[in-house]
C-alpha cells in the first residue's frame, strides 16, 4: 500500500526569479534557507511521488475551458513555458500515470469530478519551489492544478475535502509508493488589480495561526477575509488541500516573511502527519 510521508507548502511568485537581485540580502538568506529546509525535509521523507498542488497561471487553460481541478495523469509533463524560467533544469518532468489514474478513479467514485490531462505545462507555480528546494533527485510529479486565478473558484471546504480524498486514494493504492504533497502559492499578494504590491501581514499571520485551530474557524476566517486581501491570496486553497490530506493537525511553520520586492507574503510550512 502507498503511504503519505510528507505534506509541505511554499510560496511562489515570478519576481522570486525575475527580481531576485533586488531582494535585500537578509530576506534573500531567509527565503533561500526556507526553500532549502523544505528540500531537506522532502529529501529525508524519500517520496517516490510528489503531488504538486498549484494554480495554472494561464499556461494550460484559457477562458474556453477552465477546470476547477485538473489532475495530470500523463507519464510526462512539460517544464515551465515562461521565458524567464528558461534556466529551470528540467524541460520534461516525469509523472506517475498509474498512481495519478488511481487518484482520478478514486475521485470519481467518491463524488468528485476532476478533469484530467495527459500532458500539462508546469509553470512557475510548481517549478519555482522545485527549483529553489535544490533537490538531488526530482521525485515523479503528479500535478493537481486547482483554479484560484479566474472566478468562480472552488469552495474552501471542497479544497479540504480534496485533501482528505488524496489521503484516502493514497492509502488505497496497491503499490508501496511513498507519496508527499507540496502546496504552492500564497500567502497574501495582489496581482494586476489596484492593490497590486500589497502584502497583508496581519492576515497572513492570522491565517497561519488558524491552521493550528479548527477547520471551521479557519474556513470561516478565510471566507470572510479573502475577498479583501488580494487575489493572489486565493492560492491558500492549495494549503487547504495539504491540510486536509495531512489530517488537519496543523503545521510547523518553517518561515514567514513579507517580501515587498517579490510582492508576496512568503510562507513555508511542513504539516504534522
Amino acid at each position: 500500500m502507498a503511504s503519505l510521508v510528507g505534506a509541505y507548502a511554499a510560496s511562489h511568485g515570478p519576481l522570486i526569479v525575475r527580481e531576485w537581485h533586488a531582494v535585500p540580502e537578509n530576506q534573500k538568506i531567509r527565503l533561500k534557507n526556507a526553500f532549502l529546509e523544505l528540500g531537506r525535509r522532502l529529501s529525508t521523507a524519500r517520496p517516490d511521488v510528489l503531488i504538486a498542488v498549484s494554480p495554472d497561471h494561464w499556461s494550460n487553460f484559457f477562458l474556453d475551458n477552465i477546470p476547477a481541478v485538473c489532475l495530470g495523469i500523463g507519464e510526462i509533463n512539460e517544464g515551465p513555458p515562461e521565458p524567464w524560467m528558461k534556466d529551470f533544469p528540467h524541460k520534461e518532468i516525469h509523472g506517475h500515470a498509474g498512481f495519478a489514474l488511481h487518484l482520478a478513479k478514486t475521485a470519481l467514485q467518491e463524488g468528485f469530478e476532476p478533469s484530467v490531462s495527459h500532458r500539462l505545462k508546469l509553470d512557475h507555480g510548481v517549478c519555482i519551489p522545485l527549483w529553489r528546494m535544490v533537490l538531488e533527485r526530482l521525485p515523479r510529479i503528479v500535478p493537481i492544478l486547482l483554479n484560484s486565478i479566474e472566478p468562480p473558484l472552488p469552495s474552501l471546504s471542497r479544497c479540504l475535502e480534496w485533501g482528505r480524498l488524496l489521503k484516502k486514494a493514497t492509502d488505497s493504492y496497491s503499490e508501496p509508493l511513498r507519496v508527499a504533497i507540496l502546496a504552492t502559492g500564497g500567502l497574501s499578494h495582489s496581482i494586476g488589480e489596484p492593490t497590486m504590491g500589497a502584502i497583508y501581514e496581519d492576515f497572513d499571520k492570522e491565517t497561519i495561526r488558524l491552521f493550528g485551530s479548527s477547520e471551521k474557524d479557519l474556513v470561516h476566517f478565510l471566507e470572510e477575509e479573502l475577498p479583501s486581501h488580494g487575489n493572489g491570496s486565493e492560492e491558500v486553497r492549495n494549503w487547504l488541500v495539504a491540510h486536509g490530506a495531512a489530517g488537519s493537525r496543523g503545521f510547523e511553520l518553517i518561515d514567514y516573511l513579507p517580501v515587498p520586492k517579490v510582492i508576496v507574503g512568503c510562507g513555508f510550512a511542513a504539516w504534522r502527519l
Binding site: 494561464w58 484559457f62 487575489n231
Partner: protein, 81 residues
C-alpha cells in the same frame, strides 16, 4: 465584464514570438482579433484602468510585462496615475 478577444490576445502574447511581432507591428497583430474600437484604442494608448475592467488581472499584468512596461509604471497607471 470579460472581453473574450482582448483576453485571447493577452493569452496569445505569452508566446515570445507573438509578443515580439506585437512589439514590431501592433496594428497588424490587432487586425487578427475582432476587438471593439474603444478596446483597440485603449491598447494603443496603454490605458491600464480601462483594460483592467475587461480581463483577468493576471493576463493584464502579463500583457504589460510583455510589452516592456515595468511593474512600478504598471501599478501607477493601474491606480489612475
Amino acid at each position: 465584464m470579460t472581453d473574450y478577444w482582448l483576453s485571447r490576445l493577452f493569452f496569445d502574447l505569452q508566446n515570445p514570438a507573438a509578443a515580439a511581432q506585437y512589439r514590431t507591428d501592433r496594428e497588424q497583430v490587432l487586425s487578427k482579433y475582432p476587438l471593439e474600437e474603444p478596446v483597440k484604442q485603449a491598447l494603443l494608448a496603454g490605458d491600464v484602468p480601462y483594460l483592467a475592467k475587461l480581463t483577468n488581472p493576471y493576463l493584464l499584468r502579463y500583457y504589460f510585462f510583455s510589452v516592456g512596461m515595468k511593474d512600478d509604471e504598471f501599478m501607477r497607471r493601474l491606480n489612475g496615475g
